[in-house]
Amino acid sequence: MSKIGITTTIPVEVIFAAGETPVDLNNIFITHPDPGEMVRNAEEKGLPRTLCSWVKGIFSAIIANPDIDTIIAVTEGDCTNTLAMLDLFRSKGIEVIPFAYPYNMNRDTLNENIRKLEAYFGVSRKQTLEMKTKLDGIREKALLIDRMTYEDNTISGLENHISLISLSDFEGDPDGYEKKLDLLISKAKSREPFRHATRIGFCGVPTIFSDLYGFLENNKARVVFNEMQRQFAMPYKTDNILDQYLNYTYPYSFKRRIKDTKEESQKRQLTGLIHYVQSFCHHQIHDRELRESADIPVLTLEGDKPEKLKERTRIRIESFLEMLSLGT
């Protein structure tokens, strides 16, 4: 059975309602036994060194998975390289369906774009909404895990990250994924709370470093807020698909993400923020805006290739945690 590749969160309700299986290509890339090899492969096939490793990883994920014959590419509201990649995928014989989050948040435009997606997959709005109800139930469980992260302190930052980020495609199997969440909830309920003194918020794009969360926890700090990942859980309750994808902050103005980060920083009593930026990614432009707006100290980390934290980056994190622990 063919799979539908996605490059970021899209109205996945439509895909499931059509009986198809979505696969987040980012997850295929980063969970590969050797994601560095996938980046190298893409470079050998001609993608430039000065291109985001996530894009190169996505490219290799498609090449390595011939069962993915269709991709939904977000042409507005995500990576600025997508349009060029779209041509590249088409040249490889892969069907590409464009989808756009309108930057001006125009409700009619978003409605029209979702309708086009529904039409492609032969799905009615009613079917989309029925699937939304089912998926919202699973998202609720992921949001419970999120609350357990910062209220009960029984979920680690990495568990939080994985639980939320996988909601882009529900690992292609909503029922199976729900069981995984249930298991984690039940396991965490019998745990003693983590006692890390420093509460960190993580914002930006998902990190390409494989050991960041663990390194923080070994240094008496824990991530209790994963900003973008939480958005994948559609944290604002809605009864229609348009409000859901208009409230979702990631594709629109960065100011809404800053507002969300500030509100959650206060609610979760964060001591500091880590803003992760990816080398050669347009999101780096937002760094200054976030640093100037945040009410708590911000450490900006930049990652390029999939790898463990290098010594210099570890020193910067240790310095940041020391700064927070000595008080600013």
Binding site: R288, R291, P297, V298, E302, D304, E311, R312, T313, I315, R316, E318, S319, F320, E322, M323, L326, G327, T328
Partner: protein, 260 residues
């Protein structure tokens, strides 16, 4: 008398400072780190704690900083360079609001609040352009020693603009400039100005403000100090021995926090 020791194990040099209970510097030492960090650390301690009559001082506490801080087995506490340089600079110049530290392989800008606590900092992460090693490489290409390079840069009538941002590319850019018959003194001045430009960007990133204190081994280079003074707006202090500021901060931390 009670003594406190700070040791800063850097990539190029290992520096030690011994202070008394009134924060007076009793002795300081700078050694090349070399390939055997362990031996250098031991030597630094032994020489620093040796008294004039051949005896040995027993410090109340030892705090280690620098990239090799975790290798100092006899340390009571370890501290990052950010905190160490902030404490050292603030002790020497209490009005300091921003510390600029340029070491062998890294550059740091540390912004302090009114009370002298670290409020923000920036460090070079992926690139060595603008560090002490970078200046050494540039001096070699210009066939000058560091002193000569500083002298001619200070007295240069003009500065050549250097546009590359990578050490390797700057090297080839400078070779091209020499081939284009640009004057060596204006190229040397351009090198220092390009580093100062990077510093300004880092200062801006942390919202740094005057007064500035310039620390680290590169602050001994008069050409670099001159370029910073010509580029940055505000008061700039340079310690008499800027290279030991981190070790001094570590010693002060030992006095205040470890056995204070």
């Amino acid at each position: 008398m009670q003594y406190y020791m700070g040791i800063d194990v850097g990539s190029l040099s290992t520096d030690g400072v011994l202070i008394d209970g009134d924060k007076n510097i009793i002795k300081s030492i700078i050694l090349p780190t070399g390939a055997s960090i362990k031996k250098t650390i031991s030597r630094c301690r032994d020489e620093l704690l040796l008294t004039d009559d051949g005896g040995k001082i027993e410090p109340v506490a030892v705090v280690a900083t620098g990239y090799g801080r975790k290798r100092v087995e006899f340390a009571d506490h370890i501290l990052t360079e950010i905190t160490a340089h902030a404490l050292g600079a603030r002790h020497l110049f209490p009005e300091t609001r921003t510390v600029i530290d340029i070491g062998g392989q890294d550059t740091k800008v540390i912004y302090l609040d009114e009370k002298g606590r670290v409020a923000d900092f920036a460090m070079n992460d992926k690139c060595a352009a603008g560090t002490g090693r970078f200046i050494e490489v540039m001096a070699r290409i210009l066939e000058l020693d560091l002193e000569e390079m500083a002298d001619i840069a200070i007295n240069a009538g003009e500065s050549v603009e250097i546009t590359s941002t990578c050490t390797v590319f700057i090297e080839s850019e400078i070779i091209s400039l020499i081939a284009d018959t640009h004057k060596i003194d204006s190229i040397a001045s351009g090198v220092f100005r390009s580093i100062a430009g990077r510093i300004i960007s880092m200062v801006s990133n942390v919202s740094g403000k005057s007064p500035f204190t310039f620390t680290g081994g590169v602050a001994k280079n008069r050409g670099m100090v001159d370029a910073i003074r010509k580029t940055l707006q505000g008061d700039i202090f340079v310690p008499d021995d800027p290279q030991v500021t981190g070790a001094l901060g570590a010693a002060i931390f030992a006095l205040i926090h470890v056995k204070g």
